[in-house]
C-alpha cells in the first residue's frame, strides 16, 4: 500500500513528537522507530526528516544537543519540550476526532462498505 504524500506529511509532526515522548532520540533512530511503528508502510525520504526536526526546534517543540556516548559515534539528539508535549496533545485530539468521524461514517455508509468489499474480492 502506498500512503498518500499529503497524509504522510500531515502525520509526520505528531508521529515524531510521539516518538520523542518515549525518550530522547536522534534522526536515524527516529526513522527506524517510524518504520517499526508503521510496519514499514510509512516511507519517508530519510533526508526530509531533518528539515522537519529543525522546524520543530524553531517552534520550540524540541531541543537538541550533540552527544557522544562512551562507545559509539557523535549524534545529534532531540528531546521534546513542554511546548512540544502540548502541541502533541493538540494533534492527538485532532487525529482522534478525525479517526472517530471516519469510523462513524464507514459504519453507517452502505456504499463505503460495498466499496471495501469490492476491493476485498
Amino acid at each position: 500500500m502506498q500512503i498518500d504524500k499529503d497524509l504522510v506529511a500531515a502525520s509526520a509532526t505528531p508521529l515524531v513528537l510521539a516518538i520523542l515522548v518515549d525518550g530522547d532520540n536522534y534522526g536515524y533512530g527516529i526513522l527506524k522507530r517510524v518504520r517499526e511503528l508503521s510496519d514499514g508502510e510509512l516511507e519517508w525520504t530519510d533526508g526530509m526528516l531533518y528539515p522537519l526536526l529543525h522546524r520543530l526546534q524553531r517552534q520550540g517543540y524540541v531541543s537538541t544537543e550533540w552527544r557522544t556516548p562512551p562507545e559509539g559515534r557523535r549524534r545529534k539528539y532531540y528531546a521534546i519540550t513542554a511546548a512540544g508535549r502540548a502541541a502533541l496533545a493538540e494533534h492527538r485530539r485532532q487525529w482522534v476526532t478525525v479517526a472517530q468521524a471516519f469510523d462513524d461514517a464507514w459504519a453507517q455508509s452502505k456504499t463505503a462498505r460495498s466499496v471495501l468489499q469490492g476491493a476485498g474480492t
Partner: protein, 447 residues
C-alpha cells in the same frame, strides 16, 4: 573504511556547495549516513554498495536542499534560488529588467522635473508627488519579477492610482502642514505597496513578511553605498568638466541627479535580490558594531535624564527627534533579527539589544508624558498628531519586543515568537501611515 571516508567527504562537499545547509546540518546528515551504512554492512552489503543505498535513501541533493531552504527561509534568502523552485529564475531575474525599470524611473523623474520647471520653480506639487515618480517602478519591477497575475497587477495599480488621485484633489491651504505630512509619509506608504509586490501578493504569510523586512534593511545599505559611490563620481565629473564653463557643474547636477536618484532605487533592489552574499557578511558586522554602541548611549542618556529630572525641559520639537530615535532602535532590532540564526540560544547580543530597547523606551516615556500634558494645554495640530501617533505606534512595538525578548532570554519562549511579534505588527505601521496620508488632511481641513 577509508574509501567510505573519502566518498563521504566528496558527498559533504557536494551538499555543502549550495550554501543552504550549514556545517551542523551536514554533520547531522553524515552521522545519519554512517548509521545507515553500518546497518547495511551488517546485513552483508559491501561498503560501497552500502554507501550508495544510504545516499539514495537520504534523497537527491536538489530535493534535500530545497526542503532545507524551505525550512530555513532566512538562509534560503541568501541563495539565488529565491524565485520559487528555481524554474522561473532565469528570465525574470535578469539585469536587463532592472536596467529597464530603473531607466523608466529615471525618465519619469526627468519628465516630471521638466513639467514642474524644477529647479527654478520649487512647487509643493512636485514634492508631494515625488514618491509617485519612483516607487511605482519598483512595484512594477517586483510584480514582473514575481510573475504576478493580472488581478494582482490591477489591485496594485488601482491602489496606487486611488492614493495618487486622492492626495492630489485634496484642497490644501497655502503653507499647509498636512500637505507636508503627506509628502513625508507617502514614500513610506508606497514602500508598503512595494512590500505587497515583493511578497508576490502573499501578504498573509508572516514568514514571508520577515523576508521583506530583511529586504528593506539590505536595500537601505545598498542604496547608501550606491549614493556614496555616485557622490564621488559626480564630484569627479564636475571637476573634469568644469574647464568647459562655469555653468557645467550645475548642468551636470541638473541632468544626472534626477536620473540617478530614482534609478538607484531599482538598481539597489536588484542588487539585494541577486548579490546576497556580500550583504550577508555585512549585516551581522553592522549589528555587532552598532547594537552595543547604541545600548551604551541610550542607557547613559536614560540614566542621566532620570537622575537630573530634565523631563520638564524637553522641547516641543523634540518629539519628532524621539520618533527618529525609536525608528533607529527598531531598525537595529529588526536588523539584528535578520542577521541572527533563529535557532541559536540567547547570547550577549540579545542582552545588549534588550538594554538598548528598554533604555529607548524609558527615555521615550519621559518625553511622551510631557508631550501629552503640553498638547492638553496647547491643542492638537496635524504635526503633533502625526508625531504623537507614530511615537505611540513605535512605543507599543518596542514594548512588545522588549517583553518577548525578556521571555526569550529567560528561556520561556523561542526566538520564533519574537519574529512573529514583529511580522504581525507590520500592518499596524502600514495602517498608521495610511491614516496620516489619507485621513489627517481632511480631519484638519487641509490646514
Amino acid at each position: 573504511m577509508s574509501s567510505i571516508d573519502a566518498q563521504l567527504a566528496t558527498w559533504r562537499e557536494f551538499v555543502s556547495a549550495g550554501g543552504t545547509l550549514d556545517r551542523d546540518d551536514v554533520d547531522e546528515l553524515e552521522s545519519h549516513l554512517r548509521e545507515q551504512i553500518d546497518e547495511l554492512e551488517a546485513l552483508g552489503l559491501r561498503a560501497d554498495e552500502a554507501f550508495l543505498v544510504a545516499v539514495k535513501r537520504v534523497g537527491t541533493v536538489d530535493a534535500l536542499t530545497r526542503e532545507f531552504a524551505r525550512e530555513h527561509s532566512g538562509r534560503l534568502w541568501k541563495q539565488l534560488v529565491l524565485m520559487g523552485d528555481g524554474d522561473d529564475a532565469g528570465g525574470r531575474g535578469s539585469w536587463l529588467d532592472a536596467v529597464l525599470f530603473a531607466g523608466g524611473a529615471a525618465l519619469a523623474a526627468h519628465v516630471v522635473r521638466l513639467i514642474a520647471g524644477f529647479p527654478d520653480d520649487e512647487s509643493m506639487w512636485l514634492g508631494r508627488n515625488l514618491a509617485f515618480v519612483v516607487l511605482p517602478f519598483l512595484v512594477a519591477y517586483f510584480a514582473h519579477r514575481r510573475g504576478l497575475g493580472a488581478r494582482h497587477w490591477a489591485v496594485l495599480a488601482g491602489g496606487i492610482a486611488a492614493v495618487a488621485v486622492l492626495i492630489n484633489v485634496y484642497p490644501y491651504r497655502a503653507e499647509s502642514a498636512t500637505e507636508l505630512l503627506v509628502a513625508l509619509h507617502l514614500p513610506v506608504l508606497l514602500w508598503f505597496v512595494v512590500g505587497v509586490a515583493y511578497l508576490g501578493g502573499e501578504v498573509w504569510s508572516r514568514e514571508r513578511r520577515m523576508d521583506f523586512v530583511r529586504f528593506t534593511g539590505e536595500w537601505f545599505i545598498y542604496y547608501v553605498l550606491i549614493a556614496l559611490g555616485g557622490g564621488v563620481l559626480m564630484a569627479l565629473t564636475m571637476l573634469v568638466l568644469s574647464p568647459l564653463g562655469p555653468e557645467m557643474p550645475d548642468l551636470v547636477a541638473e541632468w544626472v541627479l534626477p536620473a540617478g536618484i530614482p534609478g538607484a532605487v531599482v538598481i539597489a533592489a536588484w542588487l539585494v535580490e541577486s548579490k546576497q552574499r556580500v550583504i550577508e557578511n555585512m549585516a551581522p558586522v553592522l549589528t555587532m558594531v552598532f547594537t552595543p554602541l547604541f545600548a551604551v548611549m541610550l542607557a547613559g542618556a536614560a540614566i542621566v535624564h532620570a537622575v537630573t529630572g530634565l523631563a520638564g525641559a524637553f522641547d516641543r520639537e523634540l518629539l519628532a527627534g524621539f520618533d527618529a530615535l525609536l525608528v533607529v532602535v527598531l531598525g537595529l532590532v529588526l536588523y539584528g533579527m535578520s542577521a541572527r540564526d533563529p535557532s541559536a540560544p540567547p547570547g550577549w547580543m540579545d542582552r545588549m539589544q534588550l538594554v538598548a530597547v528598554v533604555s529607548a523606551l524609558a527615555l521615550d516615556l519621559m518625553v511622551f508624558g510631557t508631550m501629552v500634558v503640553r498638547i492638553g494645554e496647547l491643542g492638537l495640530t496635524p504635526n503633533r498628531v502625526a508625531a504623537l501617533g507614530l511615537n505611540l505606534v513605535l512605543l507599543v512595538n518596542l514594548a512588545g519586543a522588549a517583553w518577548w525578548s525578556t521571555q526569550f532570554l529567560s528561556g520561556r519562549t523561542t526566538f520564533h515568537r519574537l519574529e512573529q511579534w514583529q511580522t504581525t505588527y507590520l500592518p499596524v505601521f502600514a495602517g498608521w501611515i495610511a491614516f496620516v496620508v489619507l485621513a489627517v488632511p481632511p480631519l484638519f481641513l487641509f490646514g
